[in-house]
């Protein structure tokens, strides 16, 4: 049973069929999935939804696959944690962490989008999948295409963290490390995608793939007891996630799952790669691309494809944007770990670091509900913190040695 009418250009609204295509032939706008919301409203009730297994697929009417999902069957429904220690540390009343650092199977929010992308690639009959990635997408595509028995080509910038390289190689893909930054990898891939008829999850499968991110937003609402928080701080790379979380909130309003929506959306980036934050702060109509230089490699996209929509989301919701230095990222990673026992990657340092600044600036009031997005796992980016977290105390295997060391 499908609830998808087809694809539609986000810019000029021209309709397109459900095919592995991603760009409007007329205006080059991105294509988006067009749902039959009336039909969805009729079928999907809170009771139906709550009776289903706790995975992202409980929202499947709002996801763009026509058959049963083939991968990611345990993906999603990650913890939404009330962060009581951080509330004290930051001086706020109600703070939550949406923790995709423990998402299944590869420990980042990308498992959501890839579950949809691979399932859709199978529906289309592809035998090979590919992607350009800053690391997390690579890990998830490598793992989930292994489950789906697909051939897999993964393109990454050559300077990625070891944890992300190993976290792809273990699934035995063809891993192509390109001498260049992500934007150059992406450009290369768009040419590869023209020549090879593969399912490129972030190119020709993108309209479907990107929809998977919405489940992160649905879950926040459901886990808060069917209400939207006042503030959500989201990490931005290509700008898709913040756009899709906002879409999720609006869809839940639209189908009557929440009565009111007054959430403000905040974009966060590293200062060394901040084209979206700069565009919000300077009120630019276009995104000025940058050459990234930051430890937050998962967010190091200097030319964000969905940048204008990310900026639009911030403006429409009445939110704001903030960037953080590499030092602030590391401090925020440590703050999160030492208060809440969660080890996030650099992107999580970006969101928490930005949240802290926005609270201190008074942009986010201290007495309203705040959700900080934690989208990836710190074990993958150990380089970022390894020289900043002290060392083990080395002792002899004797009580005296121990007591001398801790004196």
């Amino acid at each position: 049973m499908s609830y998808v009418k087809g694809l539609k250009c986000r810019e000029c609204a021209r309709p397109y069929p459900k095919e592995p295509i991603y760009v409007c032939e007329y205006c080059f706008g991105p294509l988006e999935v067009d749902y039959d919301y009336e039909k969805i409203k009729h079928k999907l009730t809170k009771d139906v939804l709550e009776s289903r297994p706790k995975t992202m697929w409980r929202y499947r009417e709002l996801l763009p696959i026509d058959k049963e999902p083939v991968v990611g069957l345990e993906t999603g429904f990650t913890p939404l944690i009330r962060a009581r220690n951080l509330e004290k540390a930051l001086g706020v009343k109600e703070l939550y962490l949406k923790d995709d650092s423990v998402n299944h199977p590869t420990l980042s929010f990308k498992d959501r989008v890839v579950s949809v992308a691979i399932s859709k690639a199978k529906e289309f009959g592809f035998d090979t999948v590919a992607c350009a990635s800053t690391g997390n997408l690579a890990n998830s595509v490598a793992a989930q295409s292994a489950i789906a028995n697909l051939k897999r080509y993964i393109f990454i910038p050559a300077d990625l963290e070891l944890g992300k390289v190993i976290g792809s190689l273990i699934y035995n893909p063809v891993l192509v490390a390109v001498d260049g930054n992500y934007d150059q990898v992406n450009r290369l891939c768009s040419e590869v995608a023209t020549k090879y008829k593969w399912a490129f999850v972030n190119i020709n499968i993108r309209p479907y793939y990107a929809e998977g991110s919405k489940t992160y937003g649905y879950e926040i609402i459901e886990q808060l007891g069917w209400k939207a928080p006042k503030h959500i701080i989201v990490p931005c790379a290509g700008g898709s996630l913040i756009t899709k979380i906002w879409k999720a909130l609006k869809e839940f309003k639209n189908i009557g799952f929440i009565d009111k929506l007054d959430t403000k959306m905040y974009a966060s980036q590293a200062a060394g790669c901040n084209p979206i934050v700069a565009a919000v702060k300077e009120d630019l109509e276009i995104i000025r691309p940058v050459k990234p230089n930051t430890i937050a490699k998962s967010l190091a996209i200097g030319n964000p494809a969905d940048g204008v929509y990310a900026v639009g989301t911030v403006k429409e919701s009445g939110g704001w944007a903030e960037d953080v230095s590499d030092d602030e990222i590391v401090e925020a990673i440590k703050l999160l770990a030492s208060n809440e026992g969660i080890f996030t990657e650099t992107a999580g340092g970006v969101t928490l670091g930005a949240a802290k600044k926005l609270i201190e600036q008074g942009k986010i009031p201290r007495n309203e509900s705040i959700v900080v997005c934690i989208t990836g796992n710190g074990l993958k980016t150990q380089e970022a913190v390894k020289d900043r977290i002290g060392k083990p105390i080395r002792i002899k295997p004797a009580l005296a040695s121990f007591e001398q060391a801790i004196r």
């Binding site: 080059f28 992406n186 450009r187 891939c189």
Partner: protein, 91 residues
């Protein structure tokens, strides 16, 4: 001054399925006008009604994004390769 322009799939219907076109022009603006002379209708696909390059199109000269150069005034020389590429997502 021959320059090679790589045409993205969505525009190849206008270029009679040619993935590469060789033409001349001393900057990006002239190159686009040159494309229009050869393939009428292509300019309005690349540029908006105000004549500005559409925001979801990236143009590269020898691998460098023209937004890091001089935008549509970026100059071109003999043997340059220009790629026109739709924006793509990622992460």
């Amino acid at each position: 001054m021959p320059i090679t322009v790589r045409i993205p799939t969505p525009l190849q219907k206008v270029t009679q399925n040619k993935a590469e076109v060789v033409l001349s022009g001393s900057n990006i603006r002239e190159m686009i006008d040159g494309l229009e002379r050869n393939f009428p209708g292509i300019k309005e696909r690349i540029c908006d009604e105000k004549g500005k390059i559409r925001r979801f199109i990236n143009i590269y000269v020898n691998e460098e994004d023209i937004r890091f150069l001089k935008q549509d005034q970026t100059s071109l020389k003999d043997g340059d390769e220009v790629s026109i590429i739709p924006a793509i997502a990622g992460g």
